[in-house]
Subunit: 365 residues, 2 copies
């Protein structure tokens, strides 16, 4: 059985378990995971409908031939002139889902795609595919692990290249460009290259810009790139010279939070316990109000996906799950510190994908 057939089988078991009659997904990550491809995504409604016994595609006519190379699933195609209405009715009828009582909707797809399905099934109750496909995607197999590991190795190289390049006078954008080039050298497509120097580092999602690196800066470097289906995600810190006043103390607290979360992450534990381990470490040191976000997120076909490691998540962690552990402390107008590892959960605890130490790199002035 190929990967797609095996995943489809698992999905149907999950649908049975959750009482889901119909799963409707757009041309995005869920479909990529399930079929190994997705048709061209644009404003033209494109949907894969899955019921217990069969599947059908609502397919823009101009993408039908190209998509046929990848799948044997029945197409209900529609042209730009006709619009998708009649083809959707045919797809629902063709899959026998006109009377679906519970539909699982791709939460990531365009609003107009989702409402097209929901309007056609006014009596159906609704859930999100986090409950069906998303639940399955959390656990990675060894092929997925290999791809993620390889991507992590490339990200390590890109991070080391950034470390080597940092010097006063360069801008954040120039360092980001060096990182992107290194990713590209290894065939990886850069997805994000956050370089936040000095006070910019206090914005977790800083928009990398023209700020120049100065002596005494602390620099947050959060980068990721896609190679194949999967991507990388790592955050490390660099200091220029001695770094800012008070840096070492705060770095040690974030490091302790990472270690506490790593120690808490075991199969059978709820995600909130991992978050609590990191959060309580930071709170106990008096910096609780400066840890602005959750402790982590899953990594797979998407850069952010379940399991989310939050203070309220009851998701039970299981062997094979891949997620980030990335506590941070953000001190407004001063600096920010975030240290991020991607781990795969093994029977005896988390295996860290990166080989880089979490100590701050010190760039000479």
């Amino acid at each position: 059985m190929n990967a797609s057939a095996s995943r489809m089988e698992k999905l149907r078991a999950q649908m049975a378990m959750t009482g889901t009659d119909l799963v409707a997904i757009g041309p995005g990550a869920h479909m990529q995971w399930l079929l190994g491809f997705h048709p061209h995504a644009d404003e033209r409604p494109c949907l894969l409908l899955i019921v217990a016994e069969r599947e059908g595609f609502l397919m823009p006519a101009l993408n039908a031939d190209a998509s046929r190379q990848f799948t044997d699933i029945a197409f209900h195609s529609w042209s730009d002139d006709e619009g998708p209405g009649a083809a959707l009715s045919a797809a629902l009828a063709g899959t026998g889902s006109e009377n679906a009582e519970k539909v699982s909707i791709d939460e990531t797809m365009r609003a107009d795609f989702a409402l097209l399905v929901l309007d056609a099934l006014p009596n159906a109750s609704r859930s999100y595919t986090t409950e069906t496909i998303g639940a399955l995607r959390m656990q990675k197999d060894e092929t997925e692990y290999s791809e993620l590991k390889q991507n992590a190795m490339i990200a390590d190289l890109a991070m080391e290249t950034a470390f080597a390049a940092i010097k006063p006078g360069l801008t954040e954008l120039q360092i980001a460009a060096i990182i992107r080039e290194r990713f590209a050298d290894h065939g990886a497509k850069p997805l994000f290259t956050i370089v936040g120097a000095a006070a910019n580092g206090a914005f977790p999602h800083h928009q990398t810009g023209d700020s120049k690196i100065k002596d005494g800066d602390a620099i947050v470097i959060d980068i990721g790139a896609r190679n194949g289906t999967y991507s990388s995600d790592i955050t490390r810190m660099a200091l220029v010279g001695a770094g800012p006043e008070g840096y070492a103390e705060v770095h040690a607290i974030v490091e302790a939070a990472v270690q506490a979360a790593l120690a808490a992450a075991r199969p059978g534990v709820q995600a909130m316990e991992v978050d609590a381990a990191a959060r309580s470490t930071i709170a106990a040191a008096g910096y609780g109000e400066y840890f602005l976000h959750r402790t982590g997120h899953g990594l797979g076909v998407e850069g952010h996906e379940p399991p989310y490691i939050t203070a309220t998540s009851e998701t039970v962690l299981e062997t094979g799950m891949v997620f980030s552990i990335e506590p941070g402390i953000y001190l407004p107008d001063r600096f920010g510190i975030r240290l991020e590892e991607i781990v795969i959960l093994r029977d005896d605890g988390p295996e860290i994908l990166s080989r880089l130490p979490r100590t701050a790199h010190i760039a000479k002035v």
Copy 2:
């Protein structure tokens, strides 16, 4: 008045005209156009709510500080631990839109963002922002025109570089890489670089791959890149040597369809009339069934946006609208031909942005 204030004023006039109480948009193209920025977009619900008298943001806490650099709009922020529920209620109350009777929803945002708003307003009727912001975005001002024109000039250079590089033995992906490099040289970020050689050209959205260019191929090259807020989009044809049998005749038909559409595009005309001009030209030549898509789409903050030039669109074209004219003929297992111009509609007809002729480039063997 700055661009954002002026656009907000126009939006409110449009809301009054369409009886819209509330506009709800995500961190995407609509917001970029309206505010000149949007907060980091991820799975965390982030919404701008606009009513007649005020605005409010539903804002993930970790992005609040970074976003505050760009806007004075009130934030109703929520942390990863709280979730967005209470903050959304506060945002609806804060803008006085808890009892909105008609809400205009960003059709491009994530399904779960849209359903969050719709679930909170169960008695509201719903429309899409195509009717409010989308209607305004169709008409470009001269600043937008300048940016689009500059992008078109860069795309011309990238196309000429591709023409110069084509030779038997190169793969589609190698030609695409050359195009991307040329875009990057000019500071433009490549968005798509479709290179479809021989039979691959018969797929309008061909996934550029490892196929090697051969003597006698016809090659569809459809490329675009973003520089600043706006992007480019152009399609031209290249032939290797003499090209495939029957090429010249089909190229002449597509060229005639472009010219017919250009002649039909005048202020006051419905979009369907422009489509009909291209379509009837191709149909009259006996190739109607091989023209698989609409004649064109708008180009602005998004690569595809209204006005759509389809067989059924009653949108009345007006001075200042920017859209593509791109008829094509796709002959399965043989070749495809598409010729695409981006035009801005002037009082006396369309002005073509590109300076490149539409004749096929002939690459020597």
